[in-house]
């Protein structure tokens, strides 16, 4: 078919094309390192979103909407421990696939952000040396209290203590969450408001129903009384 060595020669042409092309097109580069980005554009992991349009396809280090590294606990505006959303229900601890969450429930109740007395976690530790960033805890949480952080610079010289993240270090504000995952946070807030409204509507409907029932009962009783009177 062809001369011996022709196939090798063709292959060489391809490598040459890639070699020269890599000076002109970034997608021909086989390794993208930090160096070809300006130092001030390096993602710093927090609040480094959004990036310029079209940069994401090539840049593997972009912190994106769904980036997940390790979980964090959310609190609403105010003192972290006064507005913590977690009620120590321990669902995440049970469901966590590698069993890296450790929770101790408080003995007494404390008012949460809505002014409702609730339990809170006396201890909430996540062993990030075990955590596999799977996000199952976020999905099973019925209180939207645990979400994923995009912080990834967590290296520490202390293997055991340093990688066991305690409750107070895990607590982050909702504003911070909005900063790192704007879309997800907005959707979650919307869902929470809708849930609350639905709950209240349900409560109201139930109350109204109870009221109507009570009125009907009262009316019936009055009628019966009236009937008795006439007799």
């Amino acid at each position: 078919m062809s001369i011996l060595g022709g196939g090798i020669f063709k292959g060489m042409a391809v490598t040459l094309r890639n070699f020269i092309g890599s000076y002109f097109y970034k997608e021909r580069l086989t390794t993208n390192d930090y160096e070809w980005r300006a130092k001030d554009k390096l993602p710093q992991s927090i609040g480094d979103y959004p990036k310029e349009e079209g940069e994401q396809l090539r840049d593997t280090t972009t912190v994106n909407h769904y980036s997940r590294n390790f979980p964090m606990l959310l609190h609403d505006t105010g003192e972290p421990m006064d507005t913590i959303r977690c009620v120590a229900c321990q669902i995440c601890e049970r469901e966590c696939p590698p069993q890296c969450i450790y929770i101790e429930k408080s003995t007494e109740k404390k008012e949460n952000a809505d002014g409702k007395p609730q339990f809170y976690p006396a201890k909430f530790d996540i062993d990030v040396s075990v955590c596999m960033s799977c996000q199952i805890c976020v999905e099973v949480c019925p209180f939207d209290a645990i979400v994923m952080n995009s912080q990834f610079e967590l290296s520490t010289p202390n293997r055991f203590g340093g990688l066991l993240v305690r409750r107070d270090d895990l607590l982050k504000s909702n504003d911070y969450y909005h900063k790192i995952h704007p879309q997800e946070a907005a959707a979650r807030d919307q869902k929470m408001v809708a849930d609350k409204a639905a709950k209240e509507a349900k409560k109201k409907a139930a109350a109204e129903k109870a009221k109507a029932a009570a009125e009907a009962r009262a009316a019936a009783a009055a009628e019966a009384e009236a009937k008795e009177d006439t007799e």
């Binding site: 069993q99 450790y102 201890k123 530790d125 062993d127 055991f160 203590g161 066991l164």
Partner: protein, 187 residues
């Protein structure tokens, strides 16, 4: 081909049982190999999946109607067993699956090896031997496959308890911590 179904198998070998709940044919221990060879000849050319299932001894309560016509609940002890499950397909006719089961007791579990019929059972039966402790009669090369040769016990059995051989690490989990402390005593 309409013959590729469990009915034709049951017609040919009446001693095989049909388990409706599991959708599987339970092979008699005596002639499992013969049936397998017949199945291969009749077109089930591909054995996809081989695995074991361990059932512990359980007490089941079942309702029966006694002589007086009353229903009563009677406890009955169901013996523990190990099922070896085979999933067969036909590549030539693109049909399947046909599920076969070999049943054996938990003590001294043995089953007929189907490796001489379907080579694909080779490594998978070794795995069942390794993890469930089922001895396959007629397997050409029955050794442990995933665990090392000196390993004792069969980890996939439901009553298997793991030995303490963890590296000590501080952990907040009470259960693991207790284990560590136990380990410390041993050391």
């Amino acid at each position: 081909m309409s013959e590729l179904c469990h009915e034709s198998l049951l017609k040919e070998f009446p001693e095989a049982q049909w388990d409706e709940a599991a959708g599987a044919v339970i092979l008699p221990a005596a002639n499992a190999r013969t049936i397998a060879e017949w199945l291969l000849a009749s077109g089930w050319d591909y054995c996809s999946n081989v695995t074991g299932v361990d059932y512990l001894e359980v007490e089941v309560k079942e309702k029966i109607t006694n002589d007086a016509g009353e229903t009563e609940t009677v406890p009955r002890i169901e013996a523990g067993r190990i099922d070896v499950v085979y999933h067969l397909y036909s590549m030539a006719n693109k049909t399947g699956p046909l599920v076969l089961k070999q049943r054996t007791g938990r003590e001294g579990a043995t089953a007929e090896s189907l490796t001489p019929v379907w080579r694909s059972c080779d490594l998978q039966e070794r795995e069942v031997y390794d993890l469930f402790g089922v001895d396959f009669k007629g397997h050409p090369d029955q050794r442990r496959i995933l665990m090392w040769d000196e390993f004792e016990g069969h980890p996939m059995r439901r009553d298997y308890t793991e030995p303490f051989d963890y590296e000590w690490e501080p952990t907040p989990h009470a259960e693991i911590l207790a284990k560590h402390q136990r380990g410390k005593v041993i050391v």
